[in-house]
């Protein structure tokens, strides 16, 4: 059931091939990869062809025992040749490799770059924009960059528990999030769109559903998104059911794990819910973020994401409806 919901959540997306890069680091990596693949194809055809030829050409004729073929013990010249040729190929390959490593890893950060801190957690992503005052989860918003005004996003990667890995194939290769260590990577998408990724380092029971969305949008859209995310939640909603739900939220244990800015809920264990409804999915990508799934999630998160650390809240249906009504106001 959870994956049916996931299917719907991801339906808009296409294939995440590493050979369909839309971002500068991924493009550099794909260019190098294509060169390696071409070299590999040549080596495979030549060496594989020689092996196949020798088996066919030198197969013993059937039936007749025959004498032993001439014994050839070796040849220094031939050995030198097939030592030198692979060595030259490797040297050429490694010169190209060293260049791309430095281009990607040692890229200077332009002054306009967006800075984001991503914290890996079992099994979701905490996303912070320290200079913009924005905190969100599982959905990274970044501006697209063009050659005239470059605006890449530089990520600082940390972990609150075990090792994770940030991988959005069309944007960049992966970099791990390791506890007690700070890593860095950057993305620079050139086309607006939603790009899907996932945790790529095994991190426990729900490693599989630690999914990731990156929304690349025009600089204007991005600024509007930042403005909207900086708002604190409105005071008690007008709708009486939602207002009652707010009391449930603040009066039960919800607030010890979750934050809703502008209220007393300041928990840091689970995702920040201040702008919950601005996100497309819940549970780090397991289901579309709509009333039905929200209700199911709060009632028993295990239904959607087996093994998730959020406990089932054991809330009566009446209070559950109020609570969901309140969550739906967090835009």
């Amino acid at each position: 059931m959870s994956m049916d919901a996931t299917m719907a959540a991801q339906a808009a997306d296409t294939i995440s091939s590493i050979f369909a890069p839309v971002s500068t680091p991924a493009a550099k990596e794909a260019d190098l990869a294509r060169m390696v693949l071409w070299l590999s194809a040549v080596v495979f055809v030549v060496v594989g062809g020689l092996i196949a030829y020798s088996v066919v050409r030198y197969r013993a004729p059937a039936g007749e025992p025959g004498s032993e073929p001439p014994q050839v013990y070796g040849s220094a010249q031939v050995e030198a040749a097939w030592t030198a040729v692979p060595l030259i190929i490797i040297v050429v390959l490694m010169l190209a490799t060293g260049r791309v490593i430095h281009e990607v890893q040692a890229a200077p950060q332009p002054p306009d770059a967006v800075e984001v801190t991503v914290v890996g957690r079992q099994w979701w992503w905490e996303i912070r924009y320290p200079k913009l005052g924005v905190i969100t989860a599982n959905e990274l918003h970044v501006p697209v960059s063009d050659s005239l005004s470059r605006r890449p996003t530089f990520l600082t990667l940390e972990s609150a528990d075990v090792a994770h890995s940030f991988w959005v194939p069309r944007l960049a290769g992966k970099t791990d999030l390791i506890p007690n260590r700070t890593n860095h990577m950057w993305v620079e998408p050139h086309e607006p769109g939603t790009y899907l990724g996932a945790c790529a380092e095994y991190c426990g029971t729900q490693h599989t559903l630690m999914l990731l969305r990156v929304v690349a949008e025009t600089p204007e859209q991005f600024s509007r998104w930042v403005e909207q995310q900086r708002q604190t939640a409105a005071a008690a909603p007008a709708d009486p059911i939602a207002a009652a739900g707010r009391r449930v939220f603040l009066g039960t244990v919800c607030s010890s794990c979750h934050t809703v800015a502008g209220t007393v809920a300041k928990g840091r264990v689970g995702p920040d819910l201040t702008h919950l409804m601005s996100r497309a999915t819940i549970g780090a990508g397991v289901a579309p973020n709509i009333r039905e799934h929200l209700r199911d999630w709060v009632r028993n998160p295990d239904n959607l994401k087996r093994g998730v650390l959020m406990p089932a809240m054991q809330i009566d249906d009446k209070y559950l409806d109020q609570l969901v009504e309140y969550l739906l106001t967090l835009r």
Partner: protein, 558 residues
């Protein structure tokens, strides 16, 4: 015999030993041939267990959104599959071949330390049983939590108490410590045997290539397995006594475990693969009817691989955020492995060139290894290119790559070796017809299963996921991959049936069924206790060639 007072010995005196007597003889044996066979049988049993785990994994992944097993169960399956195949199949089966063949190939009557040999086997055996008994703990024992689910390389801090409570991980740690002791004991024993037990005239430069490679591998085991055992003990201290070596929340280092593990893990790949090269270096010359091309270069390439393999471990860690300089270094060192490995491949090719190739079952497997290892080597070079690796690592591409190494190359080489030496160990020939069924079914199944996984990885499928998203181009590759398993199982069944059938009624092999050239073929099949009635004297790399061609012996040319 009867004077010892043991009822066993008394029974043996009656003429027909009972099943119990025969079992007792095997349990207390210190004979290298029996221990070798026990290692191999032990490994084949675990090959079956690991194969069943793999089959369930592929059933679960046959379609998107499949619910055959729970996420937790799936995680235990891939953890136990990986751990079993590396530590309870690969290591023991190769220890078994080394045990059985090395004394025969060097003309020795037994290994240097027969009792250490028995100790190594039994501690490996009990380590394996202990590890797998964890499956039983969930329903049976108080506080039991089933099989471990931390992945076969057990990255910290997932293995710490905070994230893996219960004792599942302790079974993994203690099981591997025991198996590690077994490997180290075996390595000391085999290396000493090779260095001290060779027949008169067998200089280092005249040893069969399998023995040479085995010597290098034993040295690598001492360098690689010892740090793993030490790290596992540190982890055990973390879990049992509250030490903090790998616990970042108390100032330990999670990254340190990765370095410790891969300083074992990468040499380990060659510890597993090099004996496969050893099998090829025996099989290809005999079935091409030609002497191995470039023997000294083959030895040098083996030693070079041994040394380089110690300097490449961090290519498993290109994504952990090392400096550009470190990433460049490990890219280069890893790429360099391709050079001696390529030399080996070209020397086998040159051995076949101009020969009279007989496509018997061992040779079929050897030729498949050449082609599949070519693929594994090429994808290995791709992974050595750090920026390409940032995309490929921890994806299904890596899964495909190392299965091309460990199944497509090593397991195929092991199958070839079994067909080649079974007549020596049992005295009867395996069926060529069943062998060809086994070969073709397994070849088709293997390639169906693992070629598509390269594409799944390049399409963004991470490894170790219990399911995958529909609509992202992954369904077809995973379906083909799962279908391949059926062919592999059918091939495996032919293999097992062939082993059993030939044991009962295979044609008698005689001393030297393949017209081969190394010393093990000079004595009866199966060899008598203590192998050589008279210590052989050797004057070239192919002592039996010299016997068969007295007018044109090898020592004229070496």
């Amino acid at each position: 015999m009867t004077t010892t007072g043991f009822p066993i010995a008394a029974a043996a005196g009656k003429g027909v030993p009972s099943v119990f007597d025969r079992l007792y003889e095997w349990v207390v044996t210190v004979d290298h041939k029996r221990l070798g066979i026990m290692y191999i049988l032990f490994a084949l049993v675990f090959l079956l267990i690991g194969g069943i785990e793999a089959t369930v994994i592929r059933l679960q992944l046959a379609a998107a959104n499949n619910h055959l097993v729970s996420p937790h169960t799936f995680n235990t399956l891939f953890t136990m599959h990986g751990t079993t195949m590396v530590f309870l199949v690969g290591m023991p089966i190769l220890a078994g071949f080394a045990n059985y063949l090395v004394p025969l190939q060097i003309g020795a009557r037994d290994v240097a330390f027969p009792r250490v040999n028995a100790f190594g086997f039994w501690i490996t055996c009990f380590g394996g049983l202990l590890l797998n008994s964890s499956f039983l703990t969930a329903p049976v024992l108080f506080g039991g939590s089933g099989a471990p689910d931390v992945g076969w390389f057990g990255y910290a801090p997932l293995t710490e108490n905070a994230f893996s409570p219960g004792n599942a991980t302790d079974y993994w740690v203690v099981g591997l410590i025991l198996v590690g002791f077994g490997s180290i004991a075996g390595a000391v024993n085999i290396a000493t045997t090779i260095l001290t037990g060779r027949a008169r005239g067998m200089t280092l430069g005249r040893m069969p290539l399998f023995t040479w490679i085995t010597l290098v591998v034993q040295c690598m085991i001492l360098v690689a397995v010892s740090p793993l055992t030490a790290s596992l003990i540190l982890l055990f201290l973390d879990r049992g006594l509250g030490a903090h070596f790998f616990d970042p929340q108390a100032g330990g280092s999670a990254l340190l475990w990765q370095h410790f593990f891969w300083i074992f893990g990468h040499p380990e790949v060659y510890v597993l693969m090099l004996p496969g090269f050893g099998f090829l270096s025996e099989i290809i010359p005999v079935f091409s009817r030609k002497v191995i091309f470039g023997y000294p270069v083959m030895v040098a390439a083996t030693v070079a691989i041994g040394f380089i393999s110690i300097s490449v471990w961090a290519h498993h860690m290109f994504s952990v955020g090392m400096s550009p300089a470190a990433n460049t270094f490990f890219s280069i060192s890893t790429g360099l492995v391709a050079v001696p490995t390529g030399i080996k491949l070209f020397n086998w090719l040159a051995t076949m060139w101009g020969g009279r190739i007989q496509l018997r079952t061992p040779m079929l497997f050897a030729i498949a290894v050449l082609l599949q290892f070519l693929v594994a080597g090429i994808t290995g070079v791709m992974l050595s290119v750090a920026p390409f690796d940032w995309q490929l690592t921890d994806s299904y591409f890596v899964v495909a790559h190392f299965h091309f190494v460990l199944v497509g190359s090593l397991l195929f080489a092991i199958f070839g070796a079994v067909y080649y030496w079974y007549p020596k160990a049992v005295g009867r020939m395996l069926s060529e017809r069943l062998g060809k069924w086994h070969f073709w079914l397994f070849l088709i199944g293997f390639n169906l299963t693992f070629i598509p996984q390269h594409f799944a990885g390049m399409l963004g499928m991470p490894r170790r996921v219990y399911t995958f998203l529909p609509g992202r181009g992954l369904e077809i590759w995973n379906l083909i991959s799962s279908i391949g398993v059926a062919f592999q199982l059918a091939g495996g069944a032919c293999f097992v049936w062939n082993l059993i059938r030939a044991y009962r009624r295979g044609p008698l092999a005689g001393n030297d069924p393949w017209d081969a050239w190394t010393l093990e073929w000079a004595i009866s099949s199966p060899p008598p206790a203590y192998n050589f009635a008279e210590p052989p004297v050797v004057s070239s790399r192919r002592p039996l060639w010299d016997l068969k061609h007295p007018h044109d012996p090898d020592w004229h040319y070496e």
